[in-house]
Point group: D2
Chain length 343, copies 4
């Protein structure tokens, strides 16, 4: 995020007549007109800093009202247009994931001059090979899987690691592939405890005394409901234990192994971004600036092969990007004997 | 652990007449006579590998019987002596933490020729400045705290990170000091939600919009019981949510901040050990071999300043090593405005 | 490399009738028939290990003879066919960079059943977005550039860092982009000391008291010859000091800054590969096995966007992959004020 | 350095009546009165940043005159006292290595109220177990040695890595121990090419096909002079190639292995400090502030075991801290078969 911001600001500084204003805390800043001018010095040295110097907020959707009995959809795009007009701003560069880009698409429909930059560790934005932030997140998740290997192997355990991915299994699949996960459970592939346990038993027959299970937080678990009653009886199972706990306790009840689980959670965010992400963010930032200069409203910058191109935001949010169960990634994982629990 | 093992084996290979046997899975291997000879080639290239090539087990204490109505203390030191005799082994080098060394001390009393090497990520072995494994664990915990900073700062949140330390707060204190934790909660210092909340409010008054709370898994929480009823009502709160969840929900109820928590758990283990740990393990391994050659039974190798010395295992386990609330580490943390929640 | 090997072996283990033989030290092993069978257990746990368990050699080109007065091109493809025939091997999977794949292409012409996998930290293989190993190398180079920032800034210095890239400037460009290099010198863009010095003076005018220069080892330096006579007078300037020394001493003579240089050299290799590289290697390994099963001789697996495809090796080696001075990567670097020394 | 500064500033902010001024670029700032006040906000978020926000300079020794035919020792302690008096500063906290602390000692003799903090990646300050910065430097050097392993092993090479240490071999010894260096050459132990070559041949006899040589930049090489004439004939051999090149070419001429060398140089500095260093710097910073409040002029904070104590600067600089060839570190290295080239 910071790298993209730096690219926009530095890029604008090199072009006469352009100036950049940073809105604080995402749409909240646009709605409330909280902003500050950004110059060359403001973005110096932030290339390898995670997060964003502008702050962010998930709670300010201009099209959503606070919950309540008589709540109804609201449209605050006028407030956004007013802010831009008052500040004499010609273009709004929106950086974010699927949800943020959906808002950007609606703003575009309402006449707000927007350009989008895909940034999400979930990698669920379509029409681009990858989004900014994803490579860093999968790298951190892979590190964690690497580390669990030595503990699992020394203790002859089943280690379950729950990674991010509410709707898409990208991090689980890639961290599982990269970290040598033995079992990968993702929302895109229906799995059962029985099939997973069968796969682990076959590993045992081949002399393997431990297994690493990588599970996306959003991986469904219908059969889990009956296996681990205690957890489901708790008031809010997902918040308390999560799918990782469900899987660990379920497998622990079926197999003669100690099981442990760990939820990576926010440790998958932050830290210095990977070189890949910093390069991509810089290219995206400069390309977004060009798109704004070209008044290519409603377009999103996207990675296609080794080129950065423009695609319509509308196309990028028309369907979420999901793991293709028939694609070569999953096929490669199956070829190296990864268990998906669907057989 | 592997580095210490490598040092013992390589060191023995250089001395005529010595040979090394590795027991598998800790005391389990000694009791069941599961072992394999270890030579130069077996330990080549394992210096930077976490875990242990011999396996480990927490469940085989030669002085403890399986639970049961009529269970009584058992003494299986005879089985251990028998294994050593049958294999013509003159010395048993025991590598582990407080619990393992207590067993070693009792075996020594029973006439088993033992030498101890302190290795525990909890750092709770006395009479040595540090144990093998601790520096690597605090480094990983510090990395995690570092990463949470950018997320917490971007989102204006309270982030609670629960680190290892059931009885001692070493990792929490050191990762908090190194990672710039704003609040550190450890078992050695009694804290209250009120005092923590007061400290965070003072931070807010100084313009800080986020806080990082580092809490040891064993930090007591008497007042927590009343604040977060839902969690305590669950069948097994510590296993489900842990103290991290208790602290996050408690503070979330008292302060106008979003709170999130993360439990580092097993991600604090494994991975390539730090340079510090590999050097310490090598020095300890060679020193333990020397102690065995000198028939210094019942001694443990220990770091004192920059020297490796021998101390009695009995002294090392006589009292657990705890953080000194009046020591210079805690004083330094207080000086840089760390909140311990006891004021 | 190890990850690709693991994928081939594990993939073959899952298909009845297939077995894998590993030749030692590259073509040397095929020519001298030095090989060993590879099974599931041989490749277990090597996913995160750099290098190759089979060894490698640059010195065994079946089409090149040792130097000598009467040396003439030799063709040893018969020896390779003989080895394959004797061992009843149906396919040869060749893993390597531009040079290795050129040999593979000639072997294919001679009737050897080859399939290629692009692996080179120089990233100079065409027809694929990226080669295995490149992402890890640029990540290591970026880390080094990151670290030089704090030293350069504290000491108000010009730091020159020489990275790999004899013919292509990929690592220099990407590590410069990702690490915030102020000057990037690559073989694809002709540069002069005067233009670089001018750019650094403009930085000084903007208040910057240090600069980081990233230079590819193969960046040409015509004007350098006259500036730093001492170095060029030495018997083998490139081996002794390299282009990094030439650049540092040249700029030091023109500008009022202390200059230092560092040659990353082999520290850009080895270590645990990035998640990206492990995933790519696994996908490539499985895809190469499929190509061999399909008898798609002369094909190379390649990354195209997010898909793995087959391309002719002949096309991949027809022209080397170079940085496009007019592409969006260089444009992005220029937009954030990177100095290429060509203005 | 930044962590120590942060500790001093934050510590002072918590005590009524104290304020902190930061001199820019070391003694240069004191002599030229270039300084700025430092408050809580100035040091926020710098804990994990390498280098120093104040800048540094090696070229301003108040007791040394610029070179010249009629140069004579000069004493500018009056200028320093004048700066302190003018700014009403009661104490000068000096952070640095052996050279800087020697100056601090002389300033103390002249009546300047100084307190010292040992910070040097060379670890050559006596009377303290370790100096700030050393653990980070040896960690980076160890990473480099780790990475060279895979390249050396794959290519069957001798890899020579030259690390920092002009007068003391600490980094070479510790990075060699931690990284599994096969040969370690340090200034404290006289070595010969013959003995090193003999040791490597013995490795070959035991089946080892590669070797890693770790050499301190200051390791003397008397016999090297005759072996590699070309290099020594060059105008400035150490600047051009360094001892690493001398060792690599010398061994390459004596042994049937390809040799390569790499000079780590400035890549051993910078980057995020280790957890160990950040904790030590924080403890040292707070302890130095206490010493200043106690008017303990001429004292240096020092690590002794697990405690921070005060020692006279005069004692710390009376003799440089060197590796003890008879100490347990070297003994441990010898026990695991490290070659020191002195046998």
């Amino acid at each position: 995020m910071n790298a993209a911001l730096r690219a926009v600001v530095k890029g604008a500084a090199g072009r006469p007549g352009l100036r950049v204003t940073g809105f604080l805390d995402g749409f909240a800043g646009v709605l409330d007109d909280a902003a500050r001018p950004l110059g060359f010095d403001d973005v110096s040295g932030i290339l390898d800093a995670g997060g964003t110097i502008l702050g962010t907020s998930n709670r300010h959707d201009p099209f959503r009202v606070p919950a309540g009995p008589d709540a109804e959809p609201r449209d605050r795009s006028d407030a956004i247009l007013a802010t831009l007009s008052r500040r004499e701003i010609d273009a709004l560069i929106v950086v974010g994931g699927d949800g943020t880009l959906r808002i950007a698409d609606r703003l575009h429909e309402k006449g707000v001059p927007v350009v989008g930059v895909p940034k999400t560790i979930d990698n669920d934005v379509a029409e681009t090979d990858l989004s900014v932030g994803y490579d860093s997140a999968r790298a951190l998740a892979t590190d964690a899987v690497d580390r669990l290997h030595s503990t699992a192997a020394s203790h002859h355990r089943i280690m379950v690691v729950e990674v991010m991915g509410r709707h898409a299994g990208w991090i689980a699949l890639d961290a599982g592939l990269a970290g040598g996960g033995d079992v990968i459970l993702i929302p895109e592939i229906a799995w059962s405890f029985e099939a997973v346990a069968r796969g682990i038993r076959e590993r045992t027959d081949r002399g393997r005394r431990f297994s690493i299970v990588v599970v996306a937080e959003g991986a469904p678990s219908p059969s889990g409901r009956t296996v681990v009653r205690e957890i489901v009886a708790a008031p809010d199972p997902v918040r308390l234990g999560g799918i990782g706990a469900v899987v660990a306790q379920g497998l622990g009840a079926m197999l003669p192994f100690e099981t442990r689980w760990v939820v990576l959670g926010h440790t998958q965010r932050g830290g210095a971004p990977t070189a890949f992400d910093r390069i991509l963010a810089t290219r995206f930032g400069v390309a977004a600036l060009e798109a704004a200069v070209d008044r290519a409203w409603g377009s999103m910058v996207a990675l296609r092969g080794d080129r950065v191109e423009r695609v319509p935001i509308a196309a990028a949010v028309a369907r979420p990007k999901r793991v293709d169960p028939a694609g070569d990634r999953v096929a490669a994982a199956r070829a190296v004997r990864t268990i998906f629990g669907d057989e």
